[in-house]
């Protein structure tokens, strides 16, 4: 189908993006950075088109729904969020992080190709407008936390073309400033939705519990920094733990544990 072709093209463009940012880091030519940014916008537009086309094609198949309902679609959407967050935080992000985020987007596009891409019907519980806002806010949060994660990792490394430690901490904090409210919104919209669908806004389902755990880790991050004066390594460590928790919330719960949120097959 058309959406597969467009999304395949997006994956190729992601490769190109990674290469361009790498070339910039090595050559430091402003023109390359400009080109990379233009390509980033273009890739984002094409990726968006791919998702919209898929949405449209679900109507043609008689199973109309936003492409957010199984693992394949969610991986595609996460890659989209990883591009979007770069555009949202363009003023803050140095090229090294742009490189990492594009590489992450590429990784998730590649990972998605391991799963069946057929458009499946939507079970009744997922037929809700809350689905859109819930998934969007959660995944934007996950994308912002990816930035925090890379800042945490780089804090412990000594590479050429790295931002200063202070800059890393600032970017880290800013990404949590975006991610934490988004994750809160994601959890809250999920709770409101659960209340409509199942009659209970919180049932300690594994996905819910893990999103709470993730949320707590970032709450600790904010308090450790602000009220306890923790900085440096400890905060960097917290952002790594936080993202590990994000990844477990996203995948671990589906592959390791079972519950209401599993992308049922």
């Amino acid at each position: 189908m058309l959406n597969d072709k467009i999304l395949g093209l997006t994956t190729l463009l992601d490769v190109l993006l990674v290469l361009l940012f790498l070339i910039f880091l090595v050559t430091k030519k402003e023109a390359v950075l400009k080109a990379a940014w233009l390509l980033l916008y273009a890739t984002f537009a094409i990726h968006t088109a791919g998702i919209l086309v898929r949405w449209r094609e679900s109507y043609l198949l008689g199973t109309p729904h936003a492409p957010l309902s199984n693992l394949y679609e969610s991986l595609i959407f996460y890659a989209w969020c990883l591009l979007l967050i770069q555009i949202v935080m363009r003023k803050v992000l140095p090229p090294l992080l742009l490189l990492c985020l594009c590489a992450a987007a590429l990784f998730f596009m590649g990972f998605s190709s391991l799963w069946p891409s057929t458009i499946q019907p939507l079970i009744p519980a997922l037929q809700s407008n809350w689905l859109h806002i819930h998934v969007l806010t959660c995944f934007l949060a996950y994308a912002a936390f990816a930035i925090s994660f890379f800042c945490g990792i780089f804090y412990f490394l000594h590479l050429p073309f790295m931002p200063s430690k202070d800059a890393l901490e600032e970017i880290n904090y800013r990404s949590v400033m975006v991610g934490f409210p988004m994750l809160s919104a994601g959890i809250l919209t999920g709770a409101v939705w659960a209340s409509y669908a199942w009659g209970s806004y919180w049932s300690w389902d594994p996905k819910e519990s893990w999103s709470l755990i993730t949320w707590i880790v970032y709450a600790i991050f904010l308090h450790a920094r602000y009220a306890r004066g923790w900085t440096g390594r400890r905060v960097a460590f917290l952002s790594i733990i936080g993202f590990a928790s994000v990844i477990f919330t996203y995948f671990g719960v589906n592959f390791v544990l079972s519950g209401l949120h599993s992308y049922a097959s």
Partner: protein
Amino acid sequence: MAVTNGRPGSASPNGRSRTERLLTFLGSVRFAIFLLSFIAATSILGTLIKQQASSEEYVSLFSEQGYAVIHIFGLDDVFHSWWFLLALVLFSLNLILCTVNRFTLFLKNRSSEALPKESYLSTLALTFFCQGTRLEEVQRLCRGYRAVLTSQQGVILEKGRFAQYGVFIIHTSILLILLGGLLGLMLGFKGSLNLPVGESADTITLRGGGEAARRSLDFSIRCVDFRVSFYENGQPKEFLSSLEVVENKRVVLKKDVRVNDPLTHRGISFYQATYGTDAAFEFVIGGKSVLLNEGGTFRQGSLALMVVRYAPSVHDFGPGVQVAYLDNGEPKAIWFLRDVPRLREQTIAGIPVKLERLTQQQYTGLEVTSDPGLWFVWCGFFLLMAGLYINFGFYHRRVYLIPRDNGVMVAGTSRKNREGFKREFERLKERIDA
């Protein structure tokens, strides 16, 4: 004074009593981080260990000893264990103390504004001296800033003051959500109701309370119709029940309840959860047709019978229904077999009873809940989002203007978003210099 235990020596060397120190600790961020870590860590256990399973399941998963440990610590139901609840209560206490402390401090600082000392101002990173201008002139150029204090010695200007309320709104909202949860736990209930099409019920089965836990409603609910549609691959696409609420024999509310679209009446909500079919048995008793489910009873005069169970095949004679009845006060049971004429029609207490048909009866499965804390939770959610928006979308900053003989000294400070403020301050400097 907060000295309450009156024992000598209870006051510490620095003059604070034990109670005061305890309160300080209970309201500290250190304790908050400890509690949050504890809640997170135990939640992890609660997802890794299967919850609310049967003891046999635990023994097969973890062995006898393993199960003993799990049971003693309540790890088979972490989120409803007393220590998890205790952690949440302590956390609420912690948050209350912390918020009250901070808020009183905040108000005190507000009511006693004073120009900081020269020595403090000179330590600020953002300062410049503006030669040959007057203070009023500079103040006019600080657009969007509001004067907090105006005196001979100088002026304090600020912007984004309301951003400081963000944290208080956030913390209060968390308390509101916890309060709502507690109210729901204490005053609410959760249950389910399987309602065959065409029937009505005024009691529901409470969840987790075993077979006997039932609760009667102040009204009855009737399932007028149930419909389900399927995708081409046979997966259910939509299912809905047409429900009616009946009070004093009058229909007071009608609604088609779908997944994601419940019916609510008198604070009790009915959610479309599942559906299914029950075996139903049509008997002709004394010439009258009666439809009974498994467990269904029928009573007429001296005849009292109950359908005990259904078996698809009784000794190779085809499907049958076991019926219990009272014979002169003595309980007896007989089988009705559909395909054996002699056993299809039998006489109980002198009345002929015939198993007419075996049918399937569709029922709708409803979740029934009542949660008086729900509105607290919703308000908490709204406030939390508003507080986060205020806290992270805006920031508080101050500019000090100190008049000198030949100009004005300008100093700026912000506790958050220092980078952003630095840029703003530089633009201000350019504007004043121009």
